[in-house]
Amino acid sequence: MTNILEVNNVSKYFGGVKANEDISLNIEQGSIVGLIGPNGSGKTTLFNSIVGTHPIDKGSIKFEGTELSTLLVNEIPPLGLLRTFQQTKIYGQMTCMMNMKISKKTSNNYFSMFEKIPKELDEEAEQILSFVGLYEKRHLRAGELSFGQQKLLELAMALMNEPKMLMLDEPTAGINPTLINGIIDRLIKINDKYKITLFVIEHNMRVVMNLVQHVYCMAHGKLLADGKPEEIKNNKKVIDAYLGAH
């Protein structure tokens, strides 16, 4: 199998704080990979480094062979690599449909924001909304959706751009257990049906155990361990640093 993402010896410092130190990891194309670790261990920083939010101090990040660390933050999504955030970023006063349509990037031109939204987008948006289970709510203002539904909308918005790989930052934080199951189910289908590679930060081990094929665990800015979920769950270093005594 080929790697869609290759992170090699990446370091990122904030002043004297070593947020990421010498991180190397590979994400296989078509896989679902998890990233766990204590609060403040550098998981979100690594996500930010990959999508170019800030420059890295050392190392290399390659997406399908293209070096990302020299690109600007807006040059990366067109390659097919997208991310979502811990806090939902949706437009509460707009309808779900409108949120979907403005998410579609037609060109990377500043004037594109003044262009008319093409009619064909309606159908595409409706299809994806029905896939995530929000079709009935498509004309509601996004702000009226529950927090869990907003997370699903955010996921749907990312799908509008047909990414090759999605990076999700705590997709189930603050969501009730029943709806969490719904989100896991959708994520597995996204991976399966649209062949989208997923890289997921998550604290909820029930989600990690049931969703991912491979897990990386970080602690204090470094990679602590990696392996299959079952292996990681029983890894002594991971238990000490993160899971707590069993």
Binding site: G37, P38, N39, G40, Q86, G133, E136, S146, F147, G148, Q149, E170, A173, G174, I175, N176, P177, T178, L179, I180, N181, G182, I184, D185, H203, N204, M205, R206, V207, M209, N210, L211, Y242, L243, G244, A245, H246
Partner: protein, 285 residues
């Protein structure tokens, strides 16, 4: 299986096969909803009305969230509210503390009507403290300064200092970091600081909004151990909202399941944990 093994750890394990939409949860819970009598609520609170919510209709602005909501709890008991996102769980806490618009109904504490008290008065005179869902430490202040801010409303720094010392004596984890800025604390330590800060006013009633949100697994257990200590050893009355419903119900004496602003099911925490319908609809199977 030993008692120790049975305890729910962190986010708890389990399968994820039960896939139900929010609307289905609502429809189905409509079916199992029973008319809950006040006798039933009183039975759970040992016939005590230490804190009571009576026929409460409340919301934000014109948007009504809670419909004829009732609750009773005894002194030193703990009660956990669970239910789907948007069911009105946090609104119950907000209504007790005074953050909502109350259209009708009452909040009584030891038979005294405290419905109209402002949040500041609740904290200062009624002995009710609220611990926010969101991160609320002052990042650029030291741990000690954060604790002192908890007593700001007293207007007597000496008393706050005394209370802070008492708290620091108890939680050595915080004492070690007394003079460090709060921003260097780990997620679990921040939560501990937020709970400790609420203790400076020596409240009788603690309202805790999602104690485990965003926390790594090992700190979840720690936070619940702290709450258990406050209830068992300091006889605090605790009402909490928790999405990590299994852990919340395991901790609490009483559980209320909320759906669309109304109480659907009540019971002892352990009893609800074992209830199959509750498991399927609200605990993820």
């Amino acid at each position: 299986m030993s008692e120790e093994e049975k305890k729910i750890r962190g986010y708890a394990g389990g399968k994820v096969d039960t896939v139900i939409s929010v609307d289905e949860v609502q429809d189905e819970s409509e079916k199992i909803r029973s008319k809950i009598s006040n006798q039933e609520l009183l039975k759970l609170s040992n016939q005590s009305k230490y804190l009571e919510i009576k026929d409460l209709n409340a919301g934000y602005g014109k948007m009504q969230i809670l419909h004829n909501f009732n609750l009773t709890i005894d002194r030193g008991q703990s009660l956990c509210l669970i239910g789907p996102n948007g069911a009105g769980k946090s609104t119950v806490l907000h209504s007790i503390y005074g953050f909502t618009n109350i259209y009708s109904g009452d909040v009584l504490l030891e038979d005294e009507n405290v419905t109209k008290l402002s949040p500041a008065e609740k904290l200062k005179t009624a002995g009710v403290a609220y611990i926010l869902q969101d991160n609320s430490v002052f990042p650029d202040m030291t741990v000690e300064e954060n604790l002192l801010m908890g007593g700001f409303i007293k207007g007597k720094e000496e008393e706050s200092r005394e209370a802070a010392n008492k708290v620091l004596k108890k939680y050595t984890r915080l004492a070690e970091r007394r003079n460090q800025k709060a921003k260097v604390l780990s997620g679990g330590e921040r939560r501990l600081l937020e709970i400790s800060r609420a203790l400076i006013m020596n409240p009788e009633v603690l309202l805790v909004d999602e104690p485990s949100i965003g926390l790594e697994p090992k700190y979840i257990d720690m936070v619940f151990e702290i709450l258990e200590d406050l209830q068992k050893n300091e006889k605090k009355t605790i009402i909490l909202v928790e999405q990590n419903a299994k852990k919340g119900l395991e901790f609490a004496d009483i559980g209320y399941v909320l759906v669309s602003g109304e109480t659907a099911i009540v019971g002892e925490g352990d009893e609800l944990l074992k209830n199959e319908e509750v498991g399927r609809l609200f605990l993820g199977g």
